[in-house]
Amino acid sequence: MSPYPFHYHRAHTLAEAVTLLAQLGGEGQLLAGGQSLIPLMKLRLARPGALVDLNFVPGLSAIDEHSGEIRMGAMARHAALEDSELVARVPILHDCAAGIADSQVRNMGTIGGSVAEADPSGDWVAVLLTLGAQVRCTGPQGERIMPVSDFVTDAYTTMLGPAEIVQEIRVKLPPAKSGGAFIAFKRCASVYASASAAVQLTLGDGDICRDIHIALGCVGLTAVVPIAAQDALRGKPVSAKSIENAADAAMAAAEPQSDMRGSADYKRVLVRAVVKRAIDIAARRARGERVEAGHEYVARV
Protein backbone atom coordinates (compact mmCIF):
# COMPACT_ATOMS: atom_id res chain seq x y z
CA MET A 1 0.00 0.00 0.00
CA SER A 2 1.24 3.44 -0.86
CA PRO A 3 0.25 6.85 0.49
CA TYR A 4 -1.03 9.48 -1.92
CA PRO A 5 1.91 11.50 -3.23
CA PHE A 6 2.95 14.43 -1.06
CA HIS A 7 5.65 17.08 -0.95
CA TYR A 8 8.41 16.53 1.57
CA HIS A 9 10.01 19.26 3.65
CA ARG A 10 12.76 18.54 6.12
CA ALA A 11 12.99 20.96 9.04
CA HIS A 12 16.40 21.52 10.61
CA THR A 13 15.21 23.74 13.45
CA LEU A 14 11.94 24.10 15.32
CA ALA A 15 11.59 27.68 14.00
CA GLU A 16 11.98 26.38 10.44
CA ALA A 17 9.26 23.79 11.05
CA VAL A 18 6.89 26.51 12.32
CA THR A 19 7.65 28.69 9.26
CA LEU A 20 7.14 25.77 6.87
CA LEU A 21 3.80 24.85 8.47
CA ALA A 22 2.65 28.48 8.30
CA GLN A 23 3.65 28.74 4.62
CA LEU A 24 1.94 25.48 3.72
CA GLY A 25 -1.34 26.51 5.33
CA GLY A 26 -3.71 23.57 5.74
CA GLU A 27 -1.69 21.41 3.32
CA GLY A 28 1.13 20.66 5.71
CA GLN A 29 1.26 18.07 8.45
CA LEU A 30 4.05 17.23 10.87
CA LEU A 31 5.87 13.91 10.66
CA ALA A 32 7.20 12.69 14.01
CA GLY A 33 7.74 8.93 14.43
CA GLY A 34 5.01 8.22 11.91
CA GLN A 35 3.65 5.14 13.67
CA SER A 36 0.06 6.41 13.47
CA LEU A 37 0.36 8.83 10.55
CA ILE A 38 2.05 6.48 8.07
CA PRO A 39 -0.55 3.67 8.50
CA LEU A 40 -3.32 6.29 8.10
CA MET A 41 -1.67 7.62 4.95
CA LYS A 42 -1.19 4.11 3.55
CA LEU A 43 -4.87 3.37 4.12
CA ARG A 44 -5.51 6.77 2.52
CA LEU A 45 -7.53 7.87 5.52
CA ALA A 46 -5.08 10.76 5.78
CA ARG A 47 -4.01 12.71 2.73
CA PRO A 48 -1.64 15.56 3.64
CA GLY A 49 -0.40 17.53 0.65
CA ALA A 50 2.95 17.98 2.36
CA LEU A 51 4.86 16.61 5.32
CA VAL A 52 7.20 18.64 7.50
CA ASP A 53 9.69 16.15 8.93
CA LEU A 54 10.78 16.75 12.55
CA ASN A 55 13.14 13.75 12.64
CA PHE A 56 16.17 15.85 11.71
CA VAL A 57 15.67 18.68 14.21
CA PRO A 58 18.49 18.33 16.77
CA GLY A 59 17.70 18.54 20.48
CA LEU A 60 14.00 17.73 20.24
CA SER A 61 14.36 14.31 21.84
CA ALA A 62 16.20 15.26 25.04
CA ILE A 63 15.05 13.80 28.36
CA ASP A 64 16.26 16.05 31.21
CA GLU A 65 15.65 16.94 34.84
CA HIS A 66 15.15 20.62 35.50
CA SER A 67 13.67 22.49 38.51
CA GLY A 68 12.13 19.35 39.99
CA GLU A 69 10.60 18.39 36.64
CA ILE A 70 11.25 15.74 34.04
CA ARG A 71 11.29 17.42 30.64
CA MET A 72 10.71 15.10 27.73
CA GLY A 73 11.37 16.44 24.25
CA ALA A 74 8.48 15.90 21.86
CA MET A 75 10.59 13.63 19.65
CA ALA A 76 11.70 11.39 22.53
CA ARG A 77 10.89 7.86 21.33
CA HIS A 78 8.86 5.60 23.59
CA ALA A 79 11.88 3.24 23.68
CA ALA A 80 14.18 6.03 24.89
CA LEU A 81 11.70 6.84 27.66
CA GLU A 82 11.45 3.12 28.48
CA ASP A 83 15.24 2.94 28.89
CA SER A 84 15.62 6.23 30.79
CA GLU A 85 16.66 5.99 34.46
CA LEU A 86 15.27 9.47 35.02
CA VAL A 87 11.85 8.45 33.67
CA ALA A 88 11.96 5.29 35.82
CA ARG A 89 11.88 7.55 38.90
CA VAL A 90 8.21 8.08 38.05
CA PRO A 91 7.13 4.44 37.68
CA ILE A 92 3.81 5.23 35.98
CA LEU A 93 5.75 6.87 33.12
CA HIS A 94 7.89 3.77 32.72
CA ASP A 95 4.80 1.51 32.84
CA CYS A 96 3.42 3.41 29.88
CA ALA A 97 6.59 3.81 27.81
CA ALA A 98 7.64 0.16 28.17
CA GLY A 99 4.42 -1.36 26.88
CA ILE A 100 3.13 0.81 24.05
CA ALA A 101 2.51 -1.45 21.04
CA ASP A 102 5.68 -3.51 20.44
CA SER A 103 9.43 -2.96 20.44
CA GLN A 104 9.48 -1.91 16.77
CA VAL A 105 6.79 0.75 17.22
CA ARG A 106 8.40 1.99 20.47
CA ASN A 107 11.67 2.49 18.60
CA MET A 108 10.00 5.00 16.24
CA GLY A 109 6.91 6.41 17.98
CA THR A 110 7.27 9.61 20.04
CA ILE A 111 5.57 11.04 23.11
CA GLY A 112 4.94 14.37 21.36
CA GLY A 113 3.34 12.68 18.38
CA SER A 114 1.12 10.62 20.65
CA VAL A 115 -0.05 13.60 22.71
CA ALA A 116 -0.59 15.80 19.63
CA GLU A 117 -2.60 13.09 17.89
CA ALA A 118 -4.93 12.82 20.91
CA ASP A 119 -6.20 9.40 19.86
CA PRO A 120 -8.81 8.36 22.46
CA SER A 121 -7.05 4.98 22.62
CA GLY A 122 -3.56 6.42 22.99
CA ASP A 123 -1.79 5.61 26.25
CA TRP A 124 0.12 8.78 27.14
CA VAL A 125 -2.67 11.29 27.74
CA ALA A 126 -4.32 9.28 30.54
CA VAL A 127 -0.98 8.80 32.28
CA LEU A 128 0.05 12.45 31.90
CA LEU A 129 -3.30 13.65 33.25
CA THR A 130 -2.67 11.93 36.58
CA LEU A 131 0.67 13.72 36.88
CA GLY A 132 -0.67 17.18 35.98
CA ALA A 133 1.75 17.30 33.05
CA GLN A 134 2.33 20.49 31.08
CA VAL A 135 2.56 20.68 27.29
CA ARG A 136 4.99 23.25 25.92
CA CYS A 137 4.13 24.44 22.41
CA THR A 138 5.83 26.71 19.88
CA GLY A 139 4.09 28.56 17.07
CA PRO A 140 4.18 31.73 14.98
CA GLN A 141 3.09 33.77 18.04
CA GLY A 142 5.82 32.30 20.20
CA GLU A 143 5.71 29.83 23.06
CA ARG A 144 2.96 28.83 25.42
CA ILE A 145 2.59 26.13 28.02
CA MET A 146 -0.61 24.55 29.26
CA PRO A 147 -1.77 21.59 31.32
CA VAL A 148 -2.47 18.44 29.30
CA SER A 149 -6.04 18.61 30.66
CA ASP A 150 -6.52 21.86 28.70
CA PHE A 151 -4.44 20.76 25.73
CA VAL A 152 -6.64 17.84 24.67
CA THR A 153 -10.12 19.14 23.92
CA ASP A 154 -11.81 16.24 22.13
CA ALA A 155 -11.08 13.06 20.20
CA TYR A 156 -8.14 13.77 17.86
CA THR A 157 -8.50 17.46 18.78
CA THR A 158 -6.12 19.71 20.71
CA MET A 159 -5.48 23.38 21.38
CA LEU A 160 -2.66 23.38 18.79
CA GLY A 161 -2.97 26.18 16.26
CA PRO A 162 -2.45 25.45 12.56
CA ALA A 163 1.30 26.14 12.64
CA GLU A 164 1.93 25.25 16.25
CA ILE A 165 4.14 22.38 17.39
CA VAL A 166 4.40 20.40 20.63
CA GLN A 167 7.95 20.96 21.78
CA GLU A 168 8.15 19.32 25.19
CA ILE A 169 6.19 17.54 27.91
CA ARG A 170 6.92 18.47 31.52
CA VAL A 171 6.13 16.34 34.55
CA LYS A 172 6.77 17.36 38.18
CA LEU A 173 8.61 14.72 40.16
CA PRO A 174 5.97 13.40 42.61
CA PRO A 175 6.44 14.01 46.36
CA ALA A 176 7.55 11.39 48.87
CA LYS A 177 5.00 8.64 49.64
CA SER A 178 3.46 9.12 46.20
CA GLY A 179 3.04 6.15 43.89
CA GLY A 180 1.49 5.54 40.54
CA ALA A 181 0.61 2.70 38.21
CA PHE A 182 -0.68 2.30 34.67
CA ILE A 183 -2.54 -0.85 33.70
CA ALA A 184 -3.61 -1.26 30.08
CA PHE A 185 -5.34 -4.40 28.91
CA LYS A 186 -4.98 -5.32 25.26
CA ARG A 187 -5.66 -8.29 23.01
CA CYS A 188 -2.08 -8.61 21.85
CA ALA A 189 1.08 -6.52 21.79
CA SER A 190 0.70 -4.56 18.58
CA VAL A 191 -2.80 -3.15 19.14
CA TYR A 192 -4.33 -0.33 21.16
CA ALA A 193 -5.61 -1.21 24.63
CA SER A 194 -9.24 -2.21 25.14
CA ALA A 195 -9.29 -0.22 28.38
CA SER A 196 -6.66 1.32 30.63
CA ALA A 197 -6.35 2.99 34.01
CA ALA A 198 -3.73 5.42 35.25
CA VAL A 199 -3.57 6.13 38.99
CA GLN A 200 -1.22 8.41 40.94
CA LEU A 201 -1.84 8.68 44.67
CA THR A 202 -0.09 10.13 47.70
CA LEU A 203 -0.35 8.55 51.13
CA GLY A 204 -0.47 10.39 54.44
CA ASP A 205 -0.17 9.05 57.99
CA GLY A 206 -1.91 5.78 58.75
CA ASP A 207 -2.24 4.76 55.12
CA ILE A 208 -4.75 7.55 54.49
CA CYS A 209 -5.01 8.51 50.82
CA ARG A 210 -4.07 12.19 50.91
CA ASP A 211 -4.44 12.82 47.20
CA ILE A 212 -5.36 10.75 44.15
CA HIS A 213 -5.64 11.26 40.42
CA ILE A 214 -7.27 8.67 38.19
CA ALA A 215 -7.68 8.70 34.41
CA LEU A 216 -9.27 6.08 32.19
CA GLY A 217 -8.11 5.45 28.62
CA CYS A 218 -10.01 4.07 25.60
CA VAL A 219 -13.45 4.50 27.20
CA GLY A 220 -14.45 8.00 26.07
CA LEU A 221 -13.73 10.60 23.40
CA THR A 222 -10.83 11.75 25.56
CA ALA A 223 -9.30 10.21 28.68
CA VAL A 224 -11.98 10.15 31.39
CA VAL A 225 -11.25 11.54 34.87
CA PRO A 226 -13.69 9.73 37.20
CA ILE A 227 -14.26 12.38 39.88
CA ALA A 228 -16.47 10.18 42.07
CA ALA A 229 -13.83 7.45 42.04
CA GLN A 230 -11.19 9.92 43.25
CA ASP A 231 -13.58 11.14 45.96
CA ALA A 232 -14.17 7.56 47.07
CA LEU A 233 -10.53 7.39 48.17
CA ARG A 234 -9.31 10.92 48.90
CA GLY A 235 -9.03 11.45 52.66
CA LYS A 236 -9.90 7.81 53.40
CA PRO A 237 -7.80 4.81 54.36
CA VAL A 238 -6.65 2.70 51.40
CA SER A 239 -8.46 -0.58 52.04
CA ALA A 240 -10.01 -3.36 49.98
CA LYS A 241 -13.38 -1.71 50.60
CA SER A 242 -12.40 1.83 49.55
CA ILE A 243 -10.59 0.50 46.47
CA GLU A 244 -13.71 -1.48 45.57
CA ASN A 245 -15.87 1.66 45.92
CA ALA A 246 -13.50 3.67 43.73
CA ALA A 247 -13.44 0.95 41.07
CA ASP A 248 -17.25 0.85 41.01
CA ALA A 249 -17.39 4.63 40.62
CA ALA A 250 -14.81 4.53 37.83
CA MET A 251 -16.86 1.90 36.02
CA ALA A 252 -19.91 4.17 36.23
CA ALA A 253 -17.92 7.08 34.78
CA ALA A 254 -16.63 5.15 31.75
CA GLU A 255 -18.33 5.81 28.42
CA PRO A 256 -17.07 2.94 26.25
CA GLN A 257 -18.31 2.08 22.79
CA SER A 258 -18.73 -1.42 21.42
CA ASP A 259 -16.17 -2.20 18.75
CA MET A 260 -13.85 -4.97 17.59
CA ARG A 261 -12.03 -4.72 20.92
CA GLY A 262 -15.15 -5.73 22.85
CA SER A 263 -18.66 -4.74 23.78
CA ALA A 264 -19.36 -1.67 25.89
CA ASP A 265 -20.50 -3.90 28.76
CA TYR A 266 -17.30 -5.94 28.60
CA LYS A 267 -15.19 -2.77 28.65
CA ARG A 268 -17.05 -1.44 31.71
CA VAL A 269 -16.20 -4.61 33.61
CA LEU A 270 -12.64 -4.33 32.33
CA VAL A 271 -12.43 -0.73 33.62
CA ARG A 272 -13.39 -1.88 37.10
CA ALA A 273 -10.69 -4.56 37.02
CA VAL A 274 -7.86 -2.34 35.74
CA VAL A 275 -8.74 0.51 38.12
CA LYS A 276 -8.74 -1.84 41.09
CA ARG A 277 -5.36 -3.26 40.13
CA ALA A 278 -3.85 0.14 39.34
CA ILE A 279 -4.94 1.62 42.71
CA ASP A 280 -3.59 -1.40 44.58
CA ILE A 281 -0.21 -1.23 42.84
CA ALA A 282 -0.02 2.57 43.13
CA ALA A 283 -0.60 2.30 46.91
CA ARG A 284 1.98 -0.48 47.28
CA ARG A 285 4.51 1.55 45.35
CA ALA A 286 3.72 4.59 47.51
CA ARG A 287 4.61 2.42 50.52
CA GLY A 288 7.95 1.63 48.87
CA GLU A 289 7.25 -1.82 47.44
CA ARG A 290 8.64 -2.76 44.04
CA VAL A 291 5.73 -4.04 41.96
CA GLU A 292 5.44 -4.52 38.22
CA ALA A 293 2.67 -2.88 36.22
CA GLY A 294 2.07 -1.89 32.64
CA HIS A 295 0.42 -3.38 29.59
CA GLU A 296 -1.12 -6.83 29.85
CA TYR A 297 -2.16 -9.09 27.02
CA VAL A 298 -4.79 -11.78 26.83
CA ALA A 299 -1.84 -14.12 26.42
CA ARG A 300 0.22 -13.12 29.46
CA VAL A 301 3.91 -12.39 29.07
Binding site: M1, Y8, G34, Q35, L43, D53, S103, Q104, V105, C188
Partner: protein
Protein backbone atom coordinates in the same frame (compact mmCIF):
# COMPACT_ATOMS: atom_id res chain seq x y z
CA UNK B 1 -2.71 18.17 -7.93
CA UNK B 2 0.28 17.26 -10.03
CA UNK B 3 1.68 13.80 -9.54
CA UNK B 4 5.17 14.87 -10.59
CA UNK B 5 6.87 15.15 -7.24
CA UNK B 6 10.50 15.97 -6.71
CA UNK B 7 12.63 13.03 -5.79
CA UNK B 8 14.63 13.22 -2.58
CA UNK B 9 18.29 12.17 -2.59
CA UNK B 10 19.27 9.92 0.33
CA UNK B 11 22.53 8.53 1.61
CA UNK B 12 22.38 5.45 3.79
CA UNK B 13 24.58 2.60 4.86
CA UNK B 14 22.91 -0.70 4.06
CA UNK B 15 24.48 -3.83 5.49
CA UNK B 16 27.74 -1.97 5.88
CA UNK B 17 27.85 -0.54 2.35
CA UNK B 18 27.30 3.17 1.65
CA UNK B 19 24.48 3.71 -0.78
CA UNK B 20 23.11 6.79 -2.54
CA UNK B 21 19.56 6.66 -3.90
CA UNK B 22 16.72 8.92 -4.96
CA UNK B 23 13.18 8.25 -3.80
CA UNK B 24 9.72 9.71 -4.11
CA UNK B 25 8.78 11.13 -0.71
CA UNK B 26 6.06 8.49 -0.27
CA UNK B 27 8.46 5.57 -0.72
CA UNK B 28 8.42 3.25 2.28
CA UNK B 29 11.71 1.98 3.67
CA UNK B 30 10.68 -1.58 2.78
CA UNK B 31 10.00 -0.52 -0.83
CA UNK B 32 13.43 1.06 -1.04
CA UNK B 33 15.03 -2.07 0.37
CA UNK B 34 13.15 -4.59 -1.75
CA UNK B 35 12.49 -2.77 -5.01
CA UNK B 36 15.38 -0.35 -5.45
CA UNK B 37 18.12 -2.20 -3.61
CA UNK B 38 16.79 -5.66 -4.60
CA UNK B 39 17.22 -7.00 -1.07
CA UNK B 40 14.13 -9.19 -1.09
CA UNK B 41 14.93 -11.09 2.11
CA UNK B 42 12.89 -8.51 4.05
CA UNK B 43 9.24 -9.54 3.62
CA UNK B 44 6.01 -7.58 3.50
CA UNK B 45 3.39 -9.46 5.48
CA UNK B 46 0.41 -7.46 6.67
CA UNK B 47 1.58 -4.04 5.43
CA UNK B 48 -0.35 -2.53 8.40
CA UNK B 49 2.25 -2.27 11.20
CA UNK B 50 1.11 -5.50 12.79
CA UNK B 51 3.03 -8.60 11.78
CA UNK B 52 6.69 -7.57 11.90
CA UNK B 53 7.79 -9.61 8.86
CA UNK B 54 9.34 -6.40 7.47
CA UNK B 55 11.47 -5.77 10.58
CA UNK B 56 14.94 -4.35 9.91
CA UNK B 57 17.46 -2.61 12.14
CA UNK B 58 17.65 1.18 11.80
CA UNK B 59 20.73 2.45 13.63
CA UNK B 60 20.70 -0.83 15.58
CA UNK B 61 17.05 -0.66 16.66
CA UNK B 62 14.38 -2.94 15.21
CA UNK B 63 11.65 -1.11 13.27
CA UNK B 64 8.82 -2.11 10.95
CA UNK B 65 10.10 -0.99 7.56
CA UNK B 66 6.55 -0.90 6.13
CA UNK B 67 5.87 1.93 8.59
CA UNK B 68 8.96 4.05 8.09
CA UNK B 69 9.33 6.43 5.16
CA UNK B 70 12.61 5.99 3.30
CA UNK B 71 13.28 9.71 3.83
CA UNK B 72 13.23 9.14 7.61
CA UNK B 73 16.17 6.76 7.20
CA UNK B 74 18.43 9.29 5.47
CA UNK B 75 21.91 9.16 6.95
CA UNK B 76 21.09 6.01 8.90
CA UNK B 77 22.63 2.60 9.20
CA UNK B 78 20.19 -0.03 7.91
CA UNK B 79 20.69 -3.72 8.55
CA UNK B 80 18.60 -6.38 6.83
CA UNK B 81 18.57 -10.17 7.01
CA UNK B 82 21.05 -10.23 4.11
CA UNK B 83 23.55 -8.50 6.41
CA UNK B 84 23.60 -11.30 8.98
CA UNK B 85 25.64 -14.05 7.30
CA UNK B 86 29.30 -13.28 6.74
CA UNK B 87 31.50 -14.93 4.13
CA UNK B 88 28.95 -17.63 3.47
CA UNK B 89 28.67 -18.51 7.16
CA UNK B 90 25.30 -18.12 8.89
CA UNK B 91 24.99 -15.69 11.79
CA UNK B 92 24.79 -17.53 15.17
CA UNK B 93 21.16 -16.43 15.51
CA UNK B 94 20.38 -17.97 12.12
CA UNK B 95 22.22 -21.15 13.17
CA UNK B 96 20.16 -21.32 16.35
CA UNK B 97 16.84 -20.92 14.49
CA UNK B 98 17.87 -23.69 12.05
CA UNK B 99 19.10 -26.05 14.76
CA UNK B 100 15.98 -25.59 16.92
CA UNK B 101 13.42 -25.69 14.12
CA UNK B 102 12.50 -22.07 14.93
CA UNK B 103 10.69 -21.76 11.64
CA UNK B 104 8.32 -23.67 9.41
CA UNK B 105 7.24 -21.76 6.29
CA UNK B 106 9.90 -19.13 6.93
CA UNK B 107 7.90 -16.08 5.90
CA UNK B 108 8.15 -14.32 9.28
CA UNK B 109 11.73 -15.47 9.87
CA UNK B 110 13.67 -12.49 8.45
CA UNK B 111 11.79 -10.16 10.79
CA UNK B 112 12.14 -12.45 13.79
CA UNK B 113 15.86 -12.81 13.16
CA UNK B 114 16.29 -9.03 13.19
CA UNK B 115 14.27 -8.59 16.41
CA UNK B 116 16.33 -11.39 17.97
CA UNK B 117 19.63 -9.81 16.93
CA UNK B 118 18.48 -6.52 18.49
CA UNK B 119 17.39 -8.28 21.69
CA UNK B 120 20.71 -10.07 22.13
CA UNK B 121 22.68 -6.92 21.41
CA UNK B 122 20.71 -5.16 24.18
CA UNK B 123 20.38 -8.10 26.59
CA UNK B 124 22.99 -10.81 25.85
CA UNK B 125 21.46 -13.06 28.54
CA UNK B 126 17.74 -12.29 28.32
CA UNK B 127 15.10 -13.62 30.69
CA UNK B 128 12.13 -15.44 29.16
CA UNK B 129 10.04 -12.35 29.84
CA UNK B 130 12.53 -10.19 27.96
CA UNK B 131 12.50 -12.64 25.05
CA UNK B 132 8.70 -12.67 24.86
CA UNK B 133 8.52 -8.91 25.06
CA UNK B 134 11.20 -8.46 22.40
CA UNK B 135 9.37 -10.59 19.82
CA UNK B 136 5.82 -9.53 20.76
CA UNK B 137 5.73 -7.47 17.56
CA UNK B 138 6.59 -10.42 15.33
CA UNK B 139 3.75 -12.70 14.32
CA UNK B 140 4.35 -16.33 13.34
CA UNK B 141 1.38 -18.37 12.13
CA UNK B 142 3.19 -21.72 11.88
CA UNK B 143 5.33 -22.55 14.86
CA UNK B 144 3.29 -21.66 17.93
CA UNK B 145 6.47 -19.82 19.02
CA UNK B 146 7.84 -22.55 21.30
CA UNK B 147 10.72 -23.43 19.00
CA UNK B 148 11.40 -19.76 18.38
CA UNK B 149 11.82 -19.30 22.15
CA UNK B 150 14.12 -22.34 22.19
CA UNK B 151 16.15 -20.90 19.33
CA UNK B 152 16.58 -17.55 21.06
CA UNK B 153 17.56 -19.20 24.36
CA UNK B 154 20.08 -21.33 22.45
CA UNK B 155 21.51 -18.31 20.63
CA UNK B 156 21.88 -16.49 23.96
CA UNK B 157 23.54 -19.54 25.55
CA UNK B 158 25.95 -19.75 22.61
CA UNK B 159 27.04 -16.26 23.59
CA UNK B 160 25.63 -14.31 20.67
Amino acid sequence: MSLAFDKVPLQLTVNGKPCAVEVEPRTLLVELIREQLNLTGTHVGCDTTYCGACTVLLNGRNVKSCTVLAVQADGSDVRTVEGLATEGKLHPVQEAYAANHGLQCGFCTPGLLMSTVRLLEKHPKPSDQQIRKAIAGNTCRCTGYQNILKAIRAAAAAGK
